[in-house]
C-alpha cells in the first residue's frame, strides 16, 4: 500500500505533464501553431510597457519607462548589467530571454482605466506582447490585470499600492512586487507611536477612490490598535486642487494629527495647504500638531518642496539604500540618465528582471509555467533584501522603509531620509486577511490563452 501525498504543486506538475501529453498530437499540426497567447516564434520576444505617458502621473511614467529601457538593455547584454550582477538567481546571461533578443513596445495609460486597457489590448493583439507591465495607479493596475488574465498573458504590476491589486482583485496571471497599503500601515504605526505617543487624535483626508480607501483603512486599523483615536475621516474628490476647505475644519475638530491619504498632485496640494494654514506650528491637546503621509514618493516630495521636512511616510525603495543591489542599480541608472531612480523606476526594473528570470527557470514563455516559477519564489540582491513572491496572492513580501522628509537636503534628490527598515515579519499578513478581501478572494486559475 502506498501513501499518496497530494500537494498543490505536485498536482499542478502532474496536470501540466498530462496536459502537455494530451496536447502532443495537436501541437505539431499547423492549425494550432502556438500553445499560448503570443508564443514567440522568431528570434525575438516582445514585452509591453504600459505606463502613463500623459496625464498627472506622466513624470512617474517617464521614470518607469527609463527603468524598463535599462532593464531591456541589461537583459540583452548591454550596459554594466545593473542588478543582474547582484541578483541571487544567476539564470540571466545577458543574451535576452531564453536566447531570444528582448524587444519592447510602449503604451500610454493616461492614468485612465479605459485608456490603459485599450493600450494593453493593442499591445497584446497587434504587437504580440507576451507580457504586460506598468501602471502608476491602482485603478489602472486592477483593470489591466483583469484584461491580461482574460487574454492569457502575464501582468507584472508597476507602481500600484492599493490592497486590492493582490487582495480582493488578485488574479492568477498578475504579480506585484510593490508594497501595499496594509504594509504601509503596519510599518508606519509603531514608528508613529514611538515618535508621537500612543495618545493621539487623528483626522484623515482620503482620496475618493480605491487606493485612498484601502490606505485609510490600513492606517486606521494599525494606529487604532496602538491606542490612537480617529476623530474624523473625510473623502476628498480626486480632482480637488485646493484643499483649504477640507483643511480648515481640522482646526476645530480637536485632532492633533492629520493623515493625508493622498497621492500625486493631491498629496502635493493638500500638504502644501496644510502647511500654509500653519497646522504644523499649532499645539493641540498639549502636543505639537503632526502630519503623516502614508505613501511617499520622491518625485512628489519634490513637488511639495520644503513642506515635506520632518513628515513621516513609507516607501518601497529609496536610492540612498546601501545594499549591493541598490548601489548597482543607482550606478547604472544614474550614469545613463544623470539622476537617481525613483521607487517607481526601481519596482518596474525589478519586475522585468523577475519575469525574465522566471521564464528562464521555467524554460518556457507559457504564462502558467512562468507563474509557477514565480510562485513562492525567494530571491535577494534586488534592493529590498530577501524577498518572497507568495503563491497565495502573488504579492512580494519584503522589508518596508519608513521615511521622513529630510531637514537639510544636500541636493535636489536628497529629500527623504530612511528612519527605519521595518522587517518583513511585521508587515506580513495571512492571504485571507479582511483588508485583502477575506476568504472570498481567490486568484482563479492561470490562463495560457490560445
Amino acid at each position: 500500500m502506498s501513501k499518496t501525498n497530494l500537494t498543490r504543486r505536485g498536482v499542478l506538475k502532474t496536470s501540466a505533464i498530462a496536459g502537455a501529453g494530451l496536447a502532443v498530437p495537436t501541437i505539431f499540426t499547423a492549425s494550432s501553431a502556438s500553445a499560448f497567447t503570443n508564443e514567440p516564434m522568431g528570434s525575438t520576444v516582445t514585452l509591453g510597457f504600459n505606463v502613463p505617458q500623459s496625464g498627472p502621473y506622466a513624470d512617474e511614467g517617464a521614470d518607469e519607462l527609463r527603468a524598463y529601457e535599462l532593464a531591456v538593455e541589461h537583459l540583452n547584454g548591454g550596459g554594466d548589467g545593473g542588478m543582474m550582477n547582484t541578483f541571487s538567481s544567476k539564470e540571466l546571461q545577458g543574451n535576452g530571454i531564453l536566447g531570444k533578443k528582448v524587444e519592447y513596445v510602449t503604451g500610454d495609460t493616461q492614468t485612465k482605466s479605459d485608456a490603459a486597457r485599450a493600450s494593453a489590448k493593442s499591445m497584446i493583439e497587434k504587437d504580440g506582447a507576451i507580457m504586460i507591465t506598468g501602471g502608476s495607479s491602482s485603478g489602472v493596475a486592477v483593470a489591466v490585470q483583469a484584461l491580461c488574465q482574460e487574454a492569457g498573458v502575464i501582468f507584472m504590476a508597476g507602481l500600484t499600492h492599493s490592497n486590492d491589486t493582490t487582495g480582493k482583485d488578485r488574479k492568477a496571471n498578475g504579480f506585484r512586487h510593490f508594497f501595499n497599503s496594509y504594509m504601509s500601515g503596519a510599518a508606519l504605526a509603531p514608528v508613529l507611536a514611538a515618535e508621537y505617543g500612543t495618545d493621539r487624535k487623528a483626522y484623515h483626508l482620503t482620496a475618493d477612490y480605491n487606493w485612498g480607501y484601502t490606505t485609510e483603512e490600513a492606517v486606521r486599523a494599525s494606529t487604532e490598535a496602538l491606542g490612537w483615536e480617529t476623530v474624523n475621516a473625510v473623502k476628498t474628490p480626486l480632482t480637488a486642487t485646493d484643499f483649504s476647505a477640507y483643511i480648515t475644519p481640522v482646526l476645530q475638530s480637536g485632532a492633533d494629527t492629520l493623515v493625508l491619504n493622498h497621492y500625486g498632485g493631491n498629496m502635493v496640494n493638500s500638504l502644501t495647504n496644510a502647511v500654509q494654514f500653519g497646522l504644523r506650528d499649532k499645539q493641540v491637546n498639549g502636543k505639537d500638531f503632526q502630519i503623516v503621509v502614508p505613501l511617499y514618493s520622491r518625485l512628489m516630495a519634490r513637488g511639495a518642496g520644503a513642506n515635506v521636512k520632518g513628515i513621516f511616510g513609507s516607501t518601497n525603495w529609496h536610492w540612498s539604500l546601501q545594499d549591493e543591489g541598490s548601489k548597482a542599480f543607482v550606478k547604472s541608472f544614474g550614469e545613463k540618465y544623470g539622476f537617481p531612480p525613483s521607487q517607481a523606476a526601481h519596482t518596474t526594473y525589478v519586475q522585468t528582471l523577475l519575469y525574465a528570470d522566471a521564464v528562464q527557470r521555467a524554460g518556457s514563455f507559457a504564462p502558467c509555467a512562468v507563474a509557477e516559477a514565480l510562485e513562492d519564489y525567494e530571491f535577494d540582491g534586488l534592493g529590498n533584501g530577501p524577498t518572497l513572491y507568495r503563491a497565495d496572492d502573488h504579492q512580494c513580501f519584503k522589508d518596508v522603509l519608513v521615511v521622513k522628509g529630510k531637514e537639510n537636503p544636500q541636493s535636489e534628490f536628497d529629500l527623504l531620509e530612511i528612519v527605519e527598515v521595518t522587517p518583513v515579519e511585521q508587515v506580513t499578513y495571512p492571504p485571507d486577511h479582511p483588508q485583502m478581501g477575506g476568504a472570498d478572494a481567490t486568484l482563479g486559475t492561470c490562463n495560457n490563452g490560445a
Binding site: G55, S244, T248, G265, T272, Q283, S320, V330
Partner: protein
C-alpha cells in the same frame, strides 16, 4: 460660528481666482463675441510666468565642491545663482525670495503679447464662425498650450513659494475676540484677495473713467454705430483681448504660491469659471465678479464636514446645482443684459 467665518475666508481667495478669470472671459465675450475656452490656459501660463522668472533668477553657474560627493560618488556640483555674483549673496537671496511678486512685472508684457498673438494669429479667423467652432478651436488651443508647458516643465507640480515675509498665517480668532488658533488664515491668501480686489477695481476704473474704456463700452453696446463714427473698434477690442489675457495671467502668477503650478491647473478653473460667467450673466462684468465670489464661498461651505454628513458628495456638485437653480429662476443670470446671445 468660527467654522462659518473660516469658510467665508476660504471662499474669498478661491472666489478671487474665479472672479479674475471670469472677468477676462466676460471682457472677451462682451467685446469680441468669442467664447474663449483657452482662458484657463492663460491662467496656467500666468502661473508658469512665476515659475519661469524664478528659474531665470536662480539660473546658476556650476562650481565643483571637492569636499562633498553626489549620489554616484563623484565630486558634488554646487549651483551658484548668477544673481549672487551680481548683487551679492544677501541681496541675491532676497531677489530670489521675492520672485513671485516680481513676476507680476514680468507677466504683464508676456501675457499681453501672448494674448495679442492668440487673437491676431488664430481667434480673429473665427469671428464670423458659429460659437461651436470658436469653442472647439479655443479648446484645442488650450490643449496645445498645456502640452507645450508639460513638455518644458514636466507633469508634476512645481513648488513656487511666496516670499518669506508672507509665510505663516494671521490669527483672526485672536483679533476678533474668539479663541486664538481657531480662525487662522495664511497671509498670502489675504494678499491674493487684496490683489484681486485691486485688479478688478483697476479694470472697472479703466473702462469707466478713460476715453479708451468709454469707446470700448460703446463698442460692446453697439459695435456698428461706433464703427460708423470712424473709430477702429477692432484694434481696441484686440487690445482688450490682451488686457483680458494679462488679467488671467496675473491671477495665475499670484496663485502659484497657493497651489504649486502644474500644466493642468487651467482646466481645473476653466469649467468653473464658465459656470461663473453664465451665473453672473453673459457679458456682465459686475455679474462675473459677484458670481465668482458667491460660488467660491458656496463651494467652501459645501466642503464642510457638517454639510457633507447631511448631503454626501454635495461639495462636487454644489456649483452646478446653484447654476441650474439660478438659470431656472433668472435665465439671463444674476446681472445678465437682454439680447446677449439671444439673437
Amino acid at each position: 460660528m468660527e467654522a462659518i467665518i473660516l469658510q467665508i475666508l476660504n471662499g474669498l481667495d478661491k472666489g478671487s481666482a474665479y472672479a479674475l478669470i471670469a472677468l477676462g472671459l466676460t471682457l472677451i465675450f462682451g467685446t469680441l463675441g468669442v467664447v474663449n475656452f483657452a482662458h484657463g490656459a492663460l491662467f496656467m501660463i500666468g502661473a508658469f510666468c512665476a515659475v519661469t522668472l524664478s528659474r531665470i533668477l536662480t539660473a546658476s553657474r556650476t562650481v565643483i565642491d571637492e569636499t562633498k560627493t553626489d549620489f554616484l560618488g563623484n565630486p558634488l556640483k554646487v549651483d551658484v545663482p548668477h544673481v549672487y555674483d551680481w548683487f551679492g549673496e544677501a541681496a541675491g537671496a532676497t531677489i530670489i525670495d521675492w520672485a513671485v511678486p516680481l513676476s507680476i512685472l514680468f507677466a504683464i508684457p508676456v501675457m499681453m503679447l501672448i494674448g495679442l498673438i492668440m487673437e491676431r494669429g488664430l481667434i480673429k479667423h473665427f469671428y464670423s464662425r458659429p460659437h461651436a467652432d470658436q469653442i472647439l478651436v479655443t479648446f484645442g488651443l488650450a490643449i496645445v498650450l498645456q502640452e507645450i508647458i508639460k513638455y518644458f516643465y514636466g507633469a508634476n507640480p512645481i513648488p513656487t513659494p511666496a516670499p518669506d515675509a508672507f509665510r505663516g498665517s494671521f490669527d483672526f480668532g485672536a483679533a476678533l475676540g474668539f479663541d486664538p488658533n481657531v480662525i487662522i488664515y495664511p497671509y498670502w491668501r489675504l494678499v491674493y484677495f487684496a490683489f484681486a480686489a485691486v485688479i478688478i477695481g483697476a479694470v472697472f476704473a479703466f473702462l469707466q473713467f478713460t476715453t479708451f474704456g468709454m469707446v470700448v463700452r460703446a463698442g460692446m453696446a453697439d459695435r456698428e454705430t461706433v464703427g460708423l463714427l470712424g473709430i477702429d473698434i477692432d484694434k481696441r477690442f484686440t487690445l482688450m483681448f490682451g488686457l483680458a489675457a494679462a488679467v488671467a495671467g496675473l491671477a495665475g502668477v499670484m496663485y502659484a504660491p497657493i497651489n504649486s503650478p502644474n500644466y493642468h491647473m487651467g482646466m481645473d478653473f476653466l469649467v468653473l469659471s464658465f459656470v461663473v460667467v453664465v451665473v453672473g450673466g453673459m457679458g456682465s462684468l459686475p455679474g462675473a465678479v459677484a458670481a465668482g465670489f458667491l460660488l467660491g464661498i458656496l463651494e467652501s461651505f459645501a466642503s464642510m464636514g457638517a454639510v457633507l454628513e447631511v448631503l454626501p458628495g454635495i461639495n462636487q456638485i454644489i456649483i452646478y446645482l446653484v447654476a441650474i437653480i439660478i438659470l431656472l429662476t433668472r435665465p439671463r443670470g444674476l446681472m445678465g443684459r437682454k439680447g446677449v446671445m439671444e439673437e
